[in-house]
């Protein structure tokens, strides 16, 4: 009987980049440890080898590691690594939840990247703006929320840096689609929505999106079994 393959299968770009970075790091470390232990003279072959160990390989680690890191930060799992986000991420991942966040997360176009897909800034340099805001999140997490309860209880309710833009919704929900226009409420607000004077979340926001969040009146944790799934309308 053949032994099980010890190498993890690669299914995504992130895993491929991680594997590339780890192999490059291993090669680089092997060269450097060899140099530090054996102390060879700085002959031409040694210098070329060191150029790989000190330059080429670390560069490969930094590049592939950066991209893999950015790819990982798109995932809901990453958002959930700060406990104050658990009321949001646990609901989004809950197959029984009928909140807008959960419904969108069950859509394969959003999937495990549902937080980023709805909350990223899609303007010019939007990805970088989003990442800089992520650094701000980390700062606030460390300075203000690190000692709050398991779901962020006791901390100030978190809020977005700027109002949720209609463009996040209309990227998929076209305001010219017949099914959208057919809704009486939509037809009367079309101009205001296009100008940005009215927002999608004015009607579809709050507890219907993130029912467990403290900011929207939730209690952080999942509701009791009997009340499960009553968080919002699809």
């Amino acid at each position: 009987m053949l032994p099980t393959c010890p190498v993890l299968p690669i299914h995504s770009l992130e895993q491929l980049l991680k594997a590339t970075a780890l192999v490059s790091a291993a090669i680089s470390a092997a060269i450097l440890v060899w140099y530090l232990v054996r102390r060879p003279s700085l002959s031409r072959p040694t210098k070329v080898l060191l150029l790989f160990g000190l330059g080429v390989m670390p560069l490969a680690v930094a590049l592939s590691g950066n991209i893999a890191g950015f790819e990982y930060t798109l995932q809901r799992q990453f958002c959930a690594s700060c406990h104050v986000m658990l009321p949001y991420t646990e609901d989004a991942a809950d197959p029984k939840s009928t909140s807008l966040a959960a419904i969108h997360s069950r859509n394969s176009s959003f999937g495990h990247e549902s937080c980023y897909t709805c909350h990223a800034d899609y303007e010019l340099f939007g990805a970088m703006t989003t990442k800089v805001n992520g650094l701000k999140h980390l700062y606030y997490y460390v300075t203000e929320y690190a000692n709050t309860g398991p779901y962020g209880e006791g901390g100030e309710p978190i809020h977005m840096y700027k109002p949720f833009q209609n463009g996040m919704c209309t990227r998929c929900h076209s305001m010219t689609a017949p099914s959208w226009v057919a809704k009486e409420e939509h037809a009367g607000m079309l101009e205001d929505l296009q100008k940005g004077d009215a927002r999608c979340v004015d009607c579809h926001g709050g507890a219907s999106v993130h029912p467990r969040s403290f900011a929207h009146g939730g209690k952080g944790r999942a509701p009791a079994t009997a009340a499960a799934g009553q968080g919002g309308q699809p």
Binding site: L22, A25, L36, L42, K47, L51, A62, G69
Partner: protein
């Protein structure tokens, strides 16, 4: 310490700094918590850049004929 710096010590410092930076970058990939990722992408890459600059400096000095064990301060006068 700087007054006794040699080409070999420069390369050794560069190698150790690179190992530290590799450790940070690999930790950021294996345990991708927000803090480790930020450390890997900032300090890790800063250390890697510094070590590469040190190595390139060593190569440049080598090309100028500085010996492997020659004290750099002696070569540069009172620097």
């Amino acid at each position: 310490m700087i007054s006794k710096l040699t080409l070999r010590k420069l390369v050794t410092i560069s190698a150790i700094t690179t190992l530290v930076s590799l450790g940070l970058m690999v930790a950021g990939m294996l345990f991708p918590s927000p803090i480790l990722l930020v450390l890997a992408m900032s300090l890790g890459q800063l250390f890697a850049t510094v070590s590469l600059v040190l190595y390139l400096l060593a190569i440049a000095l080598d090309l100028q004929g500085v010996g492997e064990h020659e004290v750099l301060a002696d070569r540069g006068g009172d620097t």
